[in-house]
């Protein structure tokens, strides 16, 4: 007993007092589904690649992106970015410019010549892909990564499908398109151009499975009474013609339809020298299927819009247009009022149909509304024949097609192995209300510059330019990382009991349950909602 006066015990640390026993709830780290990822038709892990881009690890970010989508540079130009529509940041200031960052990463990859190595052991399986559009090429890419031998056949003279023959050059420069397709071919994909598959059962004998993605290339016609001299084209043929030469449209062009293809046709006509380009659409602007920015840009370029109108007659140099009104159900009804428009050419942009003759006579295959019926696994009624893209029931966008390609690849792979592919269950959504937005500062989006109008309407130069590195980095850093820990140290800092253990860079945190009293401060102060409180078992 060598202790000071009145002291009978050694001084001990309070760590002997395990306050974790007080707890009725414990914090649990959880990765939730951010709205961008949830909305992406190609299934990209957007939050994750933005996280990697934030510290300048562009190559890692690109590789993360490439795990789901082989076309970042194309996506960054033509995707209608539902991710940005869903982005939680829009509730704070403006959505994160995900599409711009994607384009930056895609362009950077092309500049740097990054490639994707095929590391899987060859499976010895051969797969036929019909159609070298976004769905077919995406499937070929993923199947090749899984070790299968893929042959892509396309009746066209170039690969790309609608990306080449439907999307105008001012939105998707052809060198970018070619570079991203070439990267897939360099992985060992066999491409047979000018190869129209006519006898599918015969062709299938050489392959273990097939993925069909022939697209929807036939412009839908509407019956318009027309005089002999009327010049009527369909938009798909007109846009396709742009890849071979320059279609002769005349000075006055009337485009009939209200979708994105109608905008593409009208804007292309302007660039070909048409002085008067009028879009005739039977409903109102807010009912137009075309995306807002496409309409906006078309108007900026001098395209005139004629809403609530239908074409009733076309003749040599003029068309007759009838005014419409919307009834209570929003359906356009004729009014009996007519007017005439001068027109050298009428371009019909009334939708596209798929050419399904390839599948005629294949047993078990069903059709519905002009497209092929497929199961949840994208397989048709004929075992081993899968289909995707515009020829199956879905929204017709490049991104959806790319998503089909990935999904089909996974199911084909499983089917070849005699198993069933089951996607991992999706985590709970990271809605805005689980965030603690106090910790994010205000920073409006970086806007991509658009080509000055004069150049835009006379050339096919790209309309939108990309972000430079510093603005791409800025934009990536605007990501809120919804529902996914980004190691801000808030939980580690705000715990009054030092019960959060920091595991080091990239390793995140753990809870010291010996001392955690379950107050919930870490969960409440987590900026991105990555911590949930769960009741202890009693």
């Amino acid at each position: 007993m060598d202790k000071p006066f009145a002291i009978t015990l050694d001084v001990g640390s309070s760590k002997a007092n395990k306050t974790g026993a007080w707890r009725t709830e414990r914090p649990v780290y959880a990765d939730r589904m951010p709205p961008c990822n949830q909305a992406c038709p190609a299934g990209e892990n957007i939050q994750r690649w933005l996280y990697l881009a934030e510290d300048g690890s562009y190559e890692s970010a690109w590789r993360e992106l490439m795990a789901d989508n082989p076309f970042p540079a194309i996506m960054g130009r033509v995707c209608y970015h539902p991710c940005q529509t869903a982005c939680n940041r829009a509730r704070l200031d403006e959505s994160v410019g995900i599409n711009s960052v994607e384009r930056f990463l895609g362009d950077e990859a092309i500049r740097q010549g990054w490639t994707v190595p095929v590391t899987a052991e060859p499976t010895g399986k051969r797969i036929m892909v019909v159609g070298a559009g976004p769905a077919g090429l995406s499937a070929a890419y993923h199947l090749t990564l899984m070790g299968h031998a893929v042959t892509v056949m396309d009746s066209g003279a170039y690969a790309g499908g609608m990306m080449r023959f439907g999307i105008p050059r001012y939105r998707l420069p052809r060198d970018i398109l070619s570079a991203e397709i070439q990267r897939i071919l360099d992985m060992g994909v066999t491409l047979e151009l000018g190869h129209t598959v006519t006898n599918l059962p015969a062709a299938l004998r050489h392959f273990d499975a097939a993925f069909l993605a022939v697209g929807a290339h036939i412009g839908r016609r509407a019956y318009i009474p027309a005089g002999d001299a009327a010049r009527i084209l369909d938009a798909v043929s007109m846009l396709r013609g742009m890849e071979g030469g320059v279609p002769c449209l005349g000075r006055r062009v009337v485009v009939y339809g209200g979708g994105n293809t109608a905008m593409d046709a009208a804007r292309t006509a302007r660039r070909l020298g048409a002085t008067d380009t009028v879009v005739v659409y039977r409903r109102t602007r807010d009912r137009m299927p075309a995306h807002d920015f496409e309409v906006e840009e078309a108007i900026e370029e001098g395209v005139t819009m004629k809403w609530l109108s239908t074409i009733t007659h076309a003749d040599g140099e003029r068309v007759t247009v009838e005014k419409m009104r919307l009834d209570e159900t929003g359906f356009p009804q004729p009014t009996g009022e007519f007017e005439e428009l001068a027109a050298d050419t009428v371009v019909l942009a009334l939708g596209q149909q798929a050419d399904l003759t390839l599948l005629q006579g294949l047993p078990g295959v069903d059709f519905e509304d002009g497209v092929v019926k497929v199961g949840d696994n994208l397989m048709t009624g004929y075992p081993g024949v899968f289909a995707g893209g515009d020829m199956v029931p879905a929204e017709r966008t490049v991104t959806v097609a790319v998503g089909h390609g990935k999904k089909a690849a996974r199911h084909i792979d499983a089917w070849l192995r005699g198993t069933t592919y089951r996607p991992a269950p999706r985590p709970a959504p990271a809605a805005f209300d689980i965030l603690n937005p106090w910790y994010y500062s205000d920073a409006p989006a970086t806007v991509r510059s658009t080509l000055e109008l004069a150049r835009r309407t006379s050339t096919f130069d790209e309309v939108q330019s990309g972000l430079d590195e510093s603005s791409a980095l800025f934009e990536a850093r605007r990501c809120l990382s919804c529902g996914n820990c980004f190691e801000c140290d808030n939980c580690f800092g705000v715990c009054p009991d030092n019960a959060v253990i920091k595991l080091g860079a990239g390793e995140r945190y753990a809870i010291d349950l010996d001392y955690c009293k379950g107050c919930g401060l870490c969960a409440a102060e987590c900026p991105c909602g990555a911590i949930t409180m769960q009741a202890e078992q009693t």
């Binding site: 801000c488 580690f492 379950g518």
Partner: protein, 331 residues
């Protein structure tokens, strides 16, 4: 005027989060550092979500870094002392001494004098206590320490009542708040208007080298103020708002949120002053009506009955508005 700690902007988190992997190590908060002192370590008996335990660790870890570990803390009686040192255990991982409820500033003066006599002016002295030990019981000693300009930083962790003994009113209890001694009864329920004292302004009136206020909701600002205080010699005072879930009737997980709303409503002005002059205020970032702050707390529940006491809420709002005018809290 913004404090230097807020000038770096990373847009994902701004500079408001504890750390940020994109920031250089030296630009992150002390709390983000796995080697922080943890001056107040685990196993202490503070309630769940205790603002005082959090505020004390924030402040002392910052002081430990600023002094390279060369410091002594003198503690007044109160929650902080009781929950951290039940014999024979201690949660303190720093040199720490406790004497009485009312004499902490005087003991701190004595420690500083002793260190000076021994030629150890490299060791810095911190006095600390709750609002009871600072605003009421220790006030004479504190004022004496100020007027003699003794080389002590005194930190008050203000939770606006005597929480340790069962939530009795103190000189820092705000108007209308219910405590055990200011019950929510009668025509003017809760603590009376027009009473109590504002010690940061009293400290300011002593024209000591440095006076600052802070909250547990803004860590970077709090750490900056401790660091700044350590750049001065002489008497310094920091008044930290630390919500008390038990005494305020707020949820344990809302401690930081409540402190944030106190500042964002204007009820608790966050400023700093040198030699009696205000040199900086932290502006309100997203202004809220006081009601948002009051609603989270059971001690104001009587204001939101049927019918609600809109007259009392309006008087509290007037206090916030006065602070906003007086300190220029809105851009």
């Amino acid at each position: 005027m913004t404090v230097p700690a807020q000038q770096i902007k990373f847009y994902q988190t701004g500079s408001f989060a504890v750390g940020n992997r994109l920031l250089d190590l030296e630009d992150r908060s002390v709390q983000a550092d796995t080697d922080r002192a943890n001056a107040l370590t685990s196993g202490h008996r503070a309630c769940q979500g205790c603002g005082e335990a959090l505020g004390a660790r924030y402040a002392l870890d910052a002081a430990m870094r600023a002094t390279q570990g060369q410091m002594v803390a003198v503690n007044a009686t109160g929650c902080l002392e009781v929950f951290s040192t039940p014999y024979p255990q201690t949660s303190w991982q720093i040199p720490w001494i406790h004497s009485l409820f009312g004499n902490a500033p005087a003991v701190a003066t004595g420690v500083a004098a002793a260190l000076k006599a021994k030629g150890r002016t490299d060791v810095r002295v911190i006095g600390q206590g709750g609002d009871g030990g600072t605003v009421d019981i220790g006030f004479a000693c504190l004022s004496g320490m100020f007027e003699r300009n003794d080389d002590v930083l005194f930190i008050c962790y203000d939770n606006e009542a005597y929480m340790n003994t069962g939530v009795q009113r103190s000189g820092a209890t705000p108007p209308a708040a219910r405590t055990m001694t200011t019950q929510a009864v009668g025509p003017e329920p809760g603590n009376a208007f027009g009473q109590g004292k504002n010690v940061p302004l009293i400290a300011l009136a002593h024209e000591i080298p440095y006076v600052a206020t802070a909250t547990v909701a803004e860590l970077h600002d709090l750490e900056y103020k401790v660091r700044r205080a350590m750049e001065f010699r002489g008497a310094r005072y920091i008044h930290v708002m630390v919500p008390c879930p038990l005494g305020w009737g707020s949820a344990a997980c809302d401690t930081i949120r409540v402190a944030r709303l106190a500042k964002e409503s204007g009820l608790f002005p966050v400023f700093e002053a040198e030699d009696g002059e205000v040199t900086g205020v932290v502006k309100i970032r997203r202004q809220v009506p006081v009601e948002e702050y009051l609603r989270l707390q059971g001690r104001y529940a009587h204001l939101f009955g049927d019918p609600p006491r809109t007259d009392v809420i309006a008087r509290i709002q007037a206090m916030a508005d006065r602070n906003i005018r007086r300190f220029g809290l809105v851009e």
